[in-house]
C-alpha cells in the first residue's frame, strides 16, 4: 500500500524557534491519521509546509509515492491537497457561496454562474451532510457553522488529501459526531484525512493511526488501537498529566454579579437572550452549559459592555452597570476571556507588549500622566510571559506569530493581571492542548480561590462539569435549570441543553423566585 503523504526530514525555522526539526511524517492512502501535540509543537507548521503555505529549509515530500516540489499553495492544491484552517479565513461580508467559490467561480462566458455555484454547494452539502444556507452572510453565522463552510470549501475544491486543523475545536458534540460521519464517508470514497486535534477521545474514536509531536519533533507514530489517552498525554507533554482537575469545595460569599430578566438582541436584531437571570457569588464558579448559539455569546457581550442591553439589568456588587462603558466595567473589576480569541482577544498585528497592556496602559505604573513608561511595559509583559509560560522568542513579536495555545495564555495573563472581582471565561480551552488545559483550569480555580466570582461559559460538558460549583443550562436564551456541580450528570444536562426535560417551567419559576428574593434582600 502506498503512502498518500510522505514527508522526510522537514525543517522549518522561524525567528527564534525551530518549528519543525527533522520531521518524518507519513500517511497511508485512505487512512484517518490523527496528529496531536502541545500548542506550538509544530503541527500547523508541518501542515502549512504540506499545503504550500510556507517553505521549509530542508526536507522532501512524496505524494502517492512520487517526489513533489511544493513551492506554493497552488502546487499543493493541484496535487489534490485541501486544508481547513485552525482560525477562520472567511470574508465576513460575503455569503457562503461567495466564500466557497472565491477565485474559482464557475463561469458562463464572462459572467460568474451563480446558479451553478449555488447548486453545486447545495449538492456537496447534501452529499456530506453539512447543512448550510448558501446565501447566508458569514458574519451572521455562528462559529460552528462557519467551520462547516470551511470544510465545504475544501471539498468544493476536490481535495483527495484533506487536512483538518483542529476542526472540532468549535463544534458541538452533535456537530462533531456529524463531522465524523462526513470523514468516514470521505475515507470510504478513497480519500485520506489528516486530523489535528487536542481531544484524545476523538483520536481514539476516529483515527486509524496517530502521530505525536513535541517541540518541533515527532515523538512517535502508533496504531490507535495500541495506545490510550494517558499514554498519548505522556508522550505529548513529556510528563504525567492530570486529565481531571482537583479542586476544594467552593466557599461562596456575597453576590458579585447579578443579571435580572436580561434581554439582548443578536446581530440580526432577534432576541438571543430572552429573559435570563442569574447570580454569581464571590468564590464560586458558575458554569453556563449549553449548545452554542443559545445566547451565550450575547449574554457575555452584554455583561462586558460590548452589546447593548434590550431590557433587564446587570448589577455588579450592588451597582447597576447595565449601560456602563466597557472601561467603567473593567474598572469595577470585570475581566473577560472572550470566545473569539483571534478577533477580540488579541490584536494579531500588534506586539505581545501592546496586547498585554490594553487594560493597564492608562494606570500606574505603566501609565504616568499622559505617558507610557516603556520600561515598565517591557517588565510587565515579561513578567506575565514568564508567569504564564507563554512560549515566545520575545515580548516584541506580533501576537499573530504565536500558536493558538500561547495566544490564549496571553489573553489569560492579561485578564488575570488585574486581579478581577468577576472573571468571565468563554470557551477558555478551545483549541488548547492537555497541558495548557490543565494550566487554564488550574488558573481559573486559583482565581476562584482568591475570591473572584467566575462565570464560565463552555460548550464542553466535561469542562463545565469538572470546574463548576453550580451549573445553569441555557437553551434559547433562557436558563433551563440549575444543578450543583457535584450532582450534575451528563444525561440530564444533555436533555436540558436540547430543550427537553419539562424543566423550563420550573426553571422559570425558580428564576422569578430568585428575582423576588433579591428584591427583598
Amino acid at each position: 500500500m502506498t503512502n498518500a503523504v510522505e514527508m522526510i526530514g522537514i525543517r522549518k525555522v522561524y525567528p527564534g524557534v525551530i518549528a519543525n526539526n527533522n520531521v518524518n511524517f507519513s500517511v497511508a492512502t485512505g487512512e484517518i491519521h490523527a496528529l496531536v501535540g502541545e500548542n506550538g509543537a509544530g503541527k500547523s507548521t508541518l501542515m502549512n509546509v504540506l499545503f504550500g503555505l510556507t517553505r521549509p529549509e530542508e526536507g522532501q515530500i512524496f505524494i502517492n509515492g512520487k517526489q513533489v516540489h511544493i513551492h506554493k499553495n497552488s502546487d499543493a492544491i493541484a496535487l489534490g491537497i485541501g486544508m481547513v484552517h485552525q482560525s477562520f479565513k472567511l470574508v465576513p461580508s460575503f455569503t457562503v457561496t461567495e466564500n466557497i467559490t472565491l477565485g474559482g467561480e464557475p463561469r458562463k462566458g464572462l459572467l460568474v454562474d451563480r446558479k451553478a455555484a449555488h447548486d453545486n454547494i447545495v449538492e456537496i452539502s447534501k452529499r456530506f451532510g453539512l447543512q448550510v444556507d448558501p446565501d447566508a452572510r458569514i458574519r451572521d453565522l455562528p462559529v460552528g457553522v462557519q467551520q462547516r463552510v470551511e470544510i465545504l470549501k475544501a471539498l468544493y475544491h476536490n481535495a483527495d488529501i484533506l487536512i483538518l486543523d483542529e476542526p472540532t475545536a468549535v463544534l458541538t458534540p452533535q456537530e462533531t459526531r456529524d463531522l465524523f460521519g462526513v470523514i468516514r464517508s470521505l475515507v470510504a470514497k478513497g480519500k485520506t484525512v489528516i486530523f489535528i486535534t487536542h481531544k484524545f477521545n476523538e483520536v481514539m474514536t476516529i483515527s486509524d493511526r496517530v502521530t505525536v509531536m513535541r517541540d518541533g519533533k515527532v515523538v512517535e507514530t502508533k496504531d490507535t488501537k495500541d495506545t490510550n489517552p494517558t499514554e498519548l498525554a505522556r508522550m505529548m507533554v513529556g510528563r504525567d498529566v492530570l486529565l481531571r482537575v482537583d479542586k476544594a469545595p467552593a466557599n461562596p460569599k456575597d453576590v458579585v454579579l447579578e443579571v435580572q430578566d436580561l434581554e439582548v438582541l443578536d446581530n440580526r436584531n432577534l432576541k438571543a437572550v430572552r429573559g435570563l437571570s442569574l447570580q454569581v457569588r464571590a468564590g464560586e464558579i458558575l458554569g453556563i452549559a449549553g449548545v452554542e448559539g443559545n445566547g451565550q455569546r450575547e449574554l457575555v457581550e452584554a455583561i462586558v459592555g460590548l452589546r447593548p442591553v434590550y431590557s433587564g439589568k446587570v448589577v455588579m456588587q450592588g451597582k447597576e452597570i447595565t449601560h456602563a462603558s466597557v472601561r467603567q466595567r473593567r474598572d469595577d473589576g470585570i475581566s473577560c476571556v472572550p470566545e473569539d480569541r483571534y478577533v477580540r482577544g488579541v490584536a494579531l498585528r500588534a506586539t505581545l507588549e501592546d496586547n498585554l497592556i490594553v487594560e493597564s496602559y492608562f494606570k500606574e505604573p505603566i501609565g504616568r500622566g499622559m505617558l507610557i513608561d516603556l520600561n515598565q511595559v517591557t517588565e510587565f509583559s515579561q513578567n506575565l510571559i514568564k508567569k504564564f509560560d507563554v512560549r515566545t522568542p520575545s515580548s516584541k513579536v506580533t501576537a499573530g506569530a504565536l500558536s493558538g495555545g500561547n495566544m490564549q495564555k496571553v489573553v489569560l495573563a492579561r485578564e488575570l493581571s488585574l486581579d478581577p472581582t468577576l472573571l468571565i471565561v468563554a470557551q477558555p480551552t478551545r483549541g488548547l492542548d492537555v497541558g495548557s488545559i490543565e494550566f487554564v483550569h488550574r488558573t481559573i480555580i486559583e482565581a476562584r480561590d482568591r475570591g473572584a466570582a467566575v462565570l464560565l461559559v463552555s460548550a464542553e460538558l466535561e469542562e463545565i462539569m469538572s470546574l463548576s460549583d453550580r451549573i445553569n443550562v441555557v437553551y434559547e436564551g433562557r436558563i433551563m435549570g440549575e444543578v450543583s456541580g457535584a450532582e450534575a450528570d451528563e444525561e440530564s444536562l444533555g436533555l436540558w441543553m436540547a430543550g427537553v426535560g419539562g424543566n423550563a417551567e420550573a426553571a422559570h419559576e425558580a428564576s422569578s423566585e430568585h428575582t423576588a428574593e433579591t428584591l427583598k434582600g
Binding site: 525567528p15 510556507t54 485541501g82 472567511l90 472565491l102 477565485g103
Partner: protein, 385 residues
C-alpha cells in the same frame, strides 16, 4: 534576534520596493520624455541637480517640503487610526484662512501674535475635520466621501471669503497682508546670504517639531497607543475598553489640526496673505507622500522631503530646460502607481491563493493584515545571511 535588526529589515524591505518603484517610474518617465523630445538622462540630471545640487536648490527643496511634511504627517496619523483622510486638502486651506484672519485682524506683540495665529490655523483645520468625523461615527458615512465633499465646500467658502468679506485688493481676490508680528521669517530676511533666491523659512522647524512630537506621541503616550491599537484592530481595542469614538475623533481632529497648521505656516512664511487657491494640491500630495512613506511618521517625512526635492528640481527644469513641471507630477504619480501596484499585486496574489485554499483572504475595505507573512519573510531574510 534584536528589535533593532527586525526594524532594520523592515526598513530595508520597504526601501527595496520603493527603489524598485522609483526605477520603474524613471523608466516609464523616460519613455514619455523621449516621446516629448527631451533627453531623459539630461532631464534627470537637471532634476537632481536642481533639487539637491546647489545650496539654492536645497533651500527651495526645503521650502517646498515644509507644507508637505505637515500634510503627510496629517495623513499618516489618520491612516494609522484606520481612517483615510482625503480632507487634508480642505483642512490645509481652512487652517490657512482662519490663521490669516487672526494674522491681519489683530495687533499685538509677536510673542503672543505668532503663537495665536498658529493656534488659529490648527483649530481651523481641526474644526474642518470635525464634520466628516461625526458623519462617520454617528451615521456611518464613509470618510472618503465626506472629506472629498468638505474639500469642495472649503474651496467655495474660501473663494467667497477672499472675494467679499476678507478682500483687500480691488483687482485680485486676496486678503490684507498679515501683520509683521505674525510672520515667520524667511532665511534671507534673517541673513542676506543664507538661503538667497528661495523663500525657505523657519516654518521648517515647526514642521520638524511636529514630526518629532508625533513620533513621540505614537511611541510613548497613552493617546498614541490608543490611535495605534484602534488602527490595528478596533474589535480588540473595543474589548480592551478603549473608547473607539473618542479615539477616532481625536485622531481626525489632530490630523486636521496638523493640516491646518501646515496651511497657516505656508502663509506666514511664504505668502503673507491669502491669495485664493494659493497652493492647490498640498493636501493630496501629502496623502501620497504618506502612502509612499509606508504610513509611518519617519517614512512619510522622508517621502515629503523627497517630493519637495522633485518639485524644486522641476522648477529649475522649467527655467533651465523648458521641461514642463507637470512632467514631475507624472513621474511622482508613476512612483506611487508602481508602489501601489506592488501592493495590489500582493493583494491579488493572496486573494487568489485564498480562493483556492480557504487561506487568508484580504477583507474588502480593510487594510489587509498579514502578520504571519511578515515574520516569515523576516525569517527567510535571517536565513539568507
Amino acid at each position: 534576534m534584536s528589535k533593532f535588526m527586525n526594524s532594520m529589515r523592515g526598513i530595508l524591505q520597504r526601501s527595496f520596493t520603493l527603489g524598485l518603484s522609483i526605477l520603474m517610474a524613471i523608466l516609464v518617465g523616460s519613455i514619455i520624455m523621449l516621446i516629448d523630445n527631451h533627453n531623459p538622462i539630461e532631464v534627470y540630471r537637471l532634476l537632481l541637480e536642481g533639487a539637491f545640487g546647489s545650496t539654492r536648490g536645497l533651500f527651495i527643496t526645503m521650502q517646498r517640503a515644509t507644507p508637505l511634511i505637515f500634510t503627510a504627517i496629517a495623513s499618516t496619523l489618520a491612516f494609522r487610526t484606520g481612517v483615510f483622510n482625503v480632507g487634508v486638502e480642505g483642512q490645509f486651506f481652512i487652517g490657512a484662512i482662519v490663521g490669516t484672519w487672526v494674522g491681519y485682524a489683530f495687533q499685538m506683540p509677536a510673542v503672543i501674535h505668532l503663537p495665536l495665529t498658529l493656534l488659529a490655523g490648527f483649530i481651523g483645520g481641526a474644526a474642518w475635520a470635525y464634520f466628516p468625523t461625526v458623519m462617520r461615527q454617528k451615521l456611518g458615512v464613509n470618510e472618503i466621501i465626506t472629506t472629498i465633499m468638505t474639500n469642495y465646500i472649503a474651496t467655495f467658502l474660501i473663494s467667497y471669503l477672499t472675494n467679499y468679506p476678507m478682500r483687500a485688493s480691488a483687482t485680485t481676490p486676496e486678503t490684507p497682508p498679515v501683520q509683521v508680528t505674525a510672520r515667520l521669517p524667511q532665511f534671507v530676511e534673517i541673513s542676506k546670504e543664507f538661503g538667497k533666491g528661495s523663500q525657505a523659512h523657519v516654518g521648517i522647524f515647526i514642521a520638524l517639531a511636529v514630526v518629532v512630537i508625533m513620533w513621540f506621541i505614537f511611541r510613548r503616550t497613552k493617546l498614541g497607543y490608543e490611535w495605534r491599537m484602534v488602527g490595528l484592530s478596533h474589535m480588540f481595542s473595543e474589548f480592551g475598553g478603549v473608547n473607539l469614538n473618542r479615539t477616532f475623533i481625536s485622531g481626525m481632529l489632530v490630523s486636521g489640526g496638523i493640516a491646518g497648521l501646515g496651511g497657516i505656516v505656508e502663509i506666514l512664511g511664504v505668502w503673507r496673505e491669502y491669495k485664493n487657491l494659493f497652493a492647490v494640491g498640498f493636501g493630496f500630495r501629502g496623502n501620497l507622500a504618506s502612502l509612499l512613506g509606508g504610513q509611518t511618521v519617519i517614512g512619510s517625512t522622508v517621502a515629503a522631503i523627497f517630493y519637495g526635492g522633485m518639485e524644486s528640481g522641476a522648477l529649475s527644469l522649467e527655467w533651465g530646460a523648458g521641461v514642463p513641471r507637470q512632467l514631475i507630477d507624472i513621474i511622482v504619480g508613476l512612483v506611487i502607481f508602481f508602489m501601489a501596484a506592488e501592493g495590489m499585486w500582493d493583494f491579488l496574489r493572496r486573494r487568489k491563493a485564498a480562493a483556492k485554499s480557504g487561506g487568508d483572504a484580504p477583507t474588502a475595505g480593510q487594510t489587509p493584515a498579514k502578520p504571519a507573512e511578515k515574520t516569515e519573510a523576516a525569517g527567510q531574510a535571517a536565513q539568507a545571511k
